[in-house]
Amino acid sequence: MRKLLYLTCLSIGLLLSFACLAQERTITGRVMSNVDNKPMTGVSVTVKGKDVATQTNANGNFSIIASTGQILQFSYVGYTINETTIGSSNSLEITLTSLQTQLGEVVVTALGIKKERKALGYSVTDLSAQELMKNKNTNVINSLAGKVPGVNITQFSGSAGAGASITIRGGNSTSESRQNQPLFVIDGIIYDNSTSVPGNTGTDGLSRSNTTYSNRIMDVNPEDVESLSVLKGAAAAALYGSRAADGVVIITTKKGAAGAVTVNFNSKMSTSWANKLPEAQTGFGRGSYATNGVFSDLNSYDSWGQKLTGSDPTYDNIGEFFQNGVIYDNNINVSGGTNNGSFYLSGSNFKQTGIVPKTGYEKTTFRLNGEQKYGRLTLTANLAYSIADIERTLTTAGLYGGGGNGAMGATYSWPQTLDMKNYINPDGTQYRPFAGTLPLENDKDNPYWIINQDELTSKTKRITGGISANYKITSWWDVTARLGYDQYTTSDYTYIAPGSAVPPLYQNGRLSKDLLDYTFLTTTVLSNFHKKFKDFDTHLMLGTTSEDTKTSVQNHWGYNFITAGTISFNNINTSNKFFTDGTSQKRLVGAYGEVGISYKNIAFITATGRNDWSSTLPIENWSYFYPSVSGSLVFTELLPRSTILSFGKVRASWAQVGKDANVYATNTYVNPPYIIGGFTAVGNQWAAGNPIIKPEIQSSWEVGGEFRFLNGRINLDYTYYNSQTKNQIAQPRLAQSGGFIFSSLNTGSVINKGMEIALSGKVISKKDFGWDATLNYSYNKGRLGTFLPGVAYFYPTDAQFGTVKAASIPNGGFFLGMTGSPYLRELDSKGVEIPNGRYQVDPTTGLYKVNANNPVVGNREPDFIGGFNNTFRYKKFVLSFLLDIRKGGDVYNGTEYAMVVNGLSKLTLQDDRQTVTVSGVNSVTGAEFTQTYNANQSYTIGSTTVAGTNMIQRYWANYAANSYYFITSVNWLKLRSLSLTYDFTGFFKNQNVIKGISAMAVGTNLFTWTNYKGMDPEVSAAGGTGGSGSTGIDYLGVPAVTSFTFGINITF
């Protein structure tokens, strides 16, 4: 690796010396319009990054002093900016493209096929590198938030290295083992973006909600991205067949440009801090009151204790636990090329310390892209290597089977009267406030102990590459062959220090290592035919793809270190060491074709078909066909030219795509054998297979239009879509009386309907001042259709926290629903609950009656989401800000719930804990019921006498049970990013080394205006869960962060 670094430096040095040789001279030329092919007057011509500028005269001519390798910029209102690098010639002929005809703009579509935007019968959103870099995030999908209508991004947590999930137009699969995230394709090769959990709760306490996981698209260096295309609907993605159901994100990485070698270096530094922390009460101490009113604080971490006086010390345990995070982000790239070849070489290092001490994330990437032409043959090669390491901590309950809590869970429950920083004894053992009376296995680990003594890391090394060859057989026929490879290994290391609050067997330390190896190999051969017949333009594409995906997971674990201080499996007895091995492999072969015909740039129609053969399905079902058809009509071509509506297009498409099954879902497997008394015992695993499984089938249609007003000053894009995914392949947790925890099903449907609107415009476009704005809006309504009879709710079980569970509700209910345990309200004469009626009070408990049937309590899907993206340009300043808007969608504040349960919530300070009142109707008689419980009195509850102090605790436990108290329909307006860039290039006159230099300051998540009372409503308690996921559930997570970044960017 180090070698590569030296090579990079060496080549940079060499290239710099070449760059100095250039000399200034006079360049002349003419600028023409593409609309009428006539000369343009008043076009501004500048040497990029310099204070040298002129304008074209009445004949469209200009003259300017510049040198080889510099870039000339040509700009004019209503036209796209043209940038031309000065080569050997002294005279230039420039044609500017009118924004009005920008529909001639080419976008990247499925399989990397470039098409004119106006020919598309479906919606595609593309983003440029410039747009992505405005609020650069090391996780490229985070930079999409608020920018693409129909796309929903959810950050897993605020911890360093935490991933994010992306869904396009809602989820299509219900089951937690089924991802609803789009396929990622980089330079034509499928790029894995899974969020793998190689460990398990049994051997190292690792599950989605317990620590930090990345999604693997984070391995991409965002600086390498040239453009990003989001294919949202099934028709756009149909050529990807089995993997198209959730949309596709196509990323094209940078290439070298013909001309002089360019070196770009940028360096950024950020600081970040928790944008909001939960607040803990400091009015009452530790302990609790028993039924008979006797107070005890023995072994108690609860905060239901006695009122604190001024002399009782309290500690801001939560506030002092977090630190400021720091990021250093350095990037360099070198690119260049000739008419026949180009190269792009980049390296980056991103180093982050988290807001939780001792956590961090470091990523180093290298990329080499090259292209070479030999006559009609073009060869392209890409190679990327990345190393991504996370230092993390257990956040919530970790080790299975007693104790093993997480740092965040403990921080949000640590009594404020105990100094949490006091975590270690002089002899190095854990300081435990109840040592002696509370057995270690029943104790709670101090968060500082967890972060300082335990060690949890996850390290991923990844190499991806591809080679493709394109051969133009004739002017109308070319063939492309591509070989792609994606391989990574993730090594997780989990060390639980001796003396941690875990079961006795593990109290002398425990070590676990998980190794995940992912290998993906794909081949593609495509043949394109393109021919014009008079007014008709036709094309035909035929292709075939094979994919081979292999994942192996090895898990080693052991406990009880023989000698202290050596943390190694070598220091563990053989009888205490264990090893498991798992492999999964799937293969897929696809053959596909596309045929299209267009008439005079007015009408376009395209049909595609793909047949897949997937190894994951039983042989009788493993071949299946996906068709699509789409068309568009540029109706303004049929109307008289108008400056008001200068361009108009309507489009429509229909497609059927699908998803194959998860690997090995056709069989029921058995566990590794146990030896008991000399007998070998073998039994079923907890998941049942399904030998007759069929693929999921998604049928979808969309209609839309694109409209340009005032010669392209205002653009509008509208889409309405509808999709239905049938034969849901699911392995839900349903009744265990079925004999299994999970059973593979093939039933039911998911329905998504929604709308997307994007409005963009050049509000102001002057020489020194410009304002570009994009406003987008979208909503999706996801519903679960029919489902297995007898099943009321469909739970992704990785997402159950506090009193709520993420759930999809059959027969037309919410796909992103939530079930919970609300108070029951009074009943009408028919025995039906009256909406907003009074609460029922259970006379046997003296408290509100809770609905134990887990009814639906919320819908986590927003009413709509939107973004308002602005760029202001004033001379050399560029100011951008992005507002992210959300209306509606329920969020459950499980953190507050947990703090009410343990008595730390400020809510529990009500009336100084002296009195609570229960008021409603008697659940048995229906009569009015009001009862006040005072701390200094006793009450007869049923046949038991209960002290008022205990009754007040019971009141709050009962309060916590009502899910509705913690659910908010959340609206937010977030200032997601604010950035200011200044171009200094003009300061460096009369030199040829520096072609550009700029500095930028960026604030991220600076303000959030929201009605949500918890930490941050943009939450996901168990990142990467499939099905309806865990968005909208806030539970003991690492708080979201606000950050401020300063950076410089230099181009040589």
């Binding site: 051969v525 009880n560 039994g683 079923n684 839900p732 259970d842």
Partner: protein, 664 residues
């Protein structure tokens, strides 16, 4: 140019041919065999293990309900003390039966059927009956006919259907065991951990189970058939040699895939003797120390009630030099409950700490009476202490176990010795050998040799797991004869039952004494003289004429110990309501205690109201009630009611009308 065309064409051809069946036929996990290929002789030990595991947790938790154990853990404490029944108890027995066992029973039966392995089919039937009957006993209704086959939303069945289904399976098992297997079918001995392939014992197990199950119908005048039960008994186990027990081991640290518990150990131990949460209940303790107020200690008492080392003196090297065994007393959760009430919490019994050095604890006792009583108690115990005003400072010398709390109410809790035993897989003491199953507070205590608990006969990791015993058969026979008013035969069976249990224990203790007995005095045989004295004392009825139903049932209770059958029997006699037949109060002293808070769960107003008592468990709140709510509520709309806990199950009702009345 030309060659490129060929290359392209070639690539296409390769891809084309690669898409053939062979390329894609890889969807079989190479690391895990699937359920089609598992040998029946490997499946049976799995079923035997997980059935034991499932019934172990059920035995433990129902024993908390029956008054055998007192538990500190919140969920089980609601069964042993507050009776505010918590459905946190409901999940594990259900999950370990349905997920870990039931689908294997179905698969083993089917595989065996294909091979003509009739004995394995029969064994599958036996476990079908054992498992589903246990589910019926506990939950009343749940999926049965549609269960265990991968249907994730099976419809539940009522108790009558389940009961009859289990009986039919036992009848089929008896006939299958009597058949000769087809050639090539594996011998039962190849996979039979329990009976080592002894078909006769299996057949006796079937008949014995039929007797046990038919006895459940004692409330039903139309179905209860004394002569049928007696016939079954005549075909069932005839001596302790016929006891059907599952051997358990302490030779592995392997833990299981589902719960993460040790695999080779006894299923009762996995729950009752695993952690520090269990103590003996005073109700059970009194039966062992003062049965029928006879003032005679049961010879089995010291084998069942654990002891710990007290008055420990360490030698210069820090090892135990001298000590005395202190036997536990029972936690009084049903009587006056003085200790529990004083601390104000039903879960307040506190686990001791080991003093590596002398430890001084200062108790501040404002109440003068309490202070005087406390000083008297520690003086009597020979403790060193100083007083100053309200403060009493006690010195606990190095090597002693003490309660590390300044709350004087808890100071005497060392007398409530926990029921825990260590295993290789859970002790945390690397040096502790497999032959020492004592519990030590921690590694320092182990190193010094200070025993924290000697454990209890039935719930050690190496205890035999009692599936069906001769002594139970005797007590069933005694009860049936008693109900027939045949006191003479009842008396004979009653005495035989007591003797059989003593014999069984003595045999096991004799087996243990050579290895485990060297470190644990409670794993040595009983004194024959104590046995003789006990059998001739007033603790045991001395004549047919003096025999009462209560005598039979209390002796059965003592002998069954950690077993669901005690709770089953108590339901049949309406606990201590005294309204069954003319037998009066069969379980005197068993009642709601002063810490009772289960008014919402148990809604009966008086003892004769069936709903006064714990009569079933709620279904698992998540895995059945929520995940299968529509089907569950369709059969029993009260399945989610808070007071489901006091709704009698089918065999606990006198008539079907009564039962179906509850389900309306």
């Amino acid at each position: 140019m030309k060659s490129l065309k060929y290359i392209t064409l070639g690539c296409l051809l390769i891809l084309g041919s690669a898409s053939c069946k062979k390329y894609l036929d890889i969807n079989t996990d190479p690391n895990n065999p699937n359920n089609q290929s598992v040998l029946v002789q490997n499946r049976l030990p799995w079923i035997e293990h997980y059935y034991m595991y499932s019934s172990g947790v059920t035995n433990f938790r129902t024993s908390c309900q029956a008054g055998i154990f007192y538990a500190i853990a919140a969920a089980q404490n609601t069964f042993s003390t507050s009776w505010q029944c918590s459905n946190a108890n409901s999940t594990t027995p259900y999950q370990t039966w349905f997920v870990a066992t039931s689908s294997n029973v179905v698969d083993m039966y089917n595989t065996a059927q294909k091979q003509g392995a009739y004995h394995y089919m029969a064994a599958a039937n036996v476990f079908h009956a054992l498992g589903f009957m246990q589910m019926l006993d506990v939950y009343g209704e749940m999926p049965y006919t549609e269960a265990a086959t991968g249907n994730p939303s099976p419809k539940p069945d009522d108790g009558k259907t389940i009961f009859n289904g289990c009986m039919a399976k036992l009848n089929e098992a008896i006939s299958l065991f009597s058949k000769t297997q087809e050639t090539g079918a594996p011998a039962l001995s190849a996979g039979d951990l329990i009976n080592k392939g002894n078909i006769n014992k299996w057949i006796k197990l079937c008949w014995g189970l039929k007797a046990r199950y038919m006895l459940k119908l004692s409330k039903k005048s139309d179905l209860y058939n004394a002569d049928s039960i007696l016939y079954c008994l005549s075909q069932g186990p005839q001596s302790i040699a016929d006891n059907i027990v599952e051997p358990s081991f302490n030779n592995s640290t392997v833990t299981d895939y589902l719960i993460g518990d040790p695999v080779v150990t006894n299923g009762n131990w996995n729950y009752a003797g695993y952690g520090s949460n269990q103590r003996i209940s005073q109700f059970y303790y009194n039966l062992l120390t003062n049965m029928k107020n006879a003032g005679v200690t049961d010879p089995r008492m010291t084998k069942i009630v654990p002891a710990y080392m007290s008055n420990v003196k360490l030698d210069a090297s820090g090892k135990v030099n001298s000590y005395t065994w202190t036997r536990s007393i029972g936690v009084d959760s049903y009587g006056p409950a003085t200790r529990l009430l004083k601390a104000g919490s039903p879960t307040s019994i506190t686990t001791p700490t080991y003093a590596t050095a002398n430890a001084n604890i200062k108790y501040t006792i404002a109440n003068a009476t309490d202070r005087a009583a406390f000083i008297a108690a520690i003086t009597a115990a020979g403790k060193t202490f100083t007083t100053s005003g309200n403060d009493v400072t006690v010195t606990y010398p190095a090597g002693s176990m003490y309660i590390n709390s300044t709350n004087y109410v808890l100071a005497g809790d060392t007398i409530y010795v926990n029921m825990r035993s260590n295993s290789l897989a859970t002790s945390g003491n690397a040096a502790q050998p497999a032959t020492d199953v004592n519990w030590y507070v921690n590694a320092a205590a182990y190193s010094a040799g200070v025993v924290g608990s000697t454990g209890s006969f039935q719930i050690r990791p190496v205890s035999d797991y009692e599936i069906l015993t001769y002594h139970e058969m005797c007590f069933i026979k005694a009860e049936v004869y008693m109900r027939k008013s045949d006191n003479v035969n009842a008396y004979t069976a009653y005495r035989a039952g007591i003797q059989a249990h003593l014999d069984m224990m003595q045999a096991k203790l004799t087996e243990w004494q050579g290895s485990y007995g060297t470190t644990n005095p409670d794993m040595k045989p009983m004194n024959q003289s104590d046995i003789t004295a006990y059998l001739s004392s007033n603790a045991v009825a001395q004549s047919a004429g003096a025999l009462t139903m209560s005598d039979i049932m209390m002796q059965k209770y003592v002998a069954m110990g950690c077993s669901i059958e005690n709770w089953n029997d108590m339901r049949r006699f309406n606990f201590s309501a005294g309204n069954i037949g003319g037998y009066g109060v069969v379980y005197p002293g068993y009642d709601r205690g002063p810490l009772f808070t289960g008014t919402a769960q148990l809604t009966g107003a008086s003892k004769t109201d069936p709903k006064y008592w714990m009569r079933r468990w709620a279904l698992p709140p998540v895995y059945e009630i929520q995940y299968n709510s529509i089907n569950t509520l369709a059969l029993n709309p009260h399945a989610t009611d808070v007071n489901i806990w006091c709704m009698p199950i089918w065999w606990d009702c006198a008539t079907d009308d009564e039962y179906y009345g509850y389900l309306k």
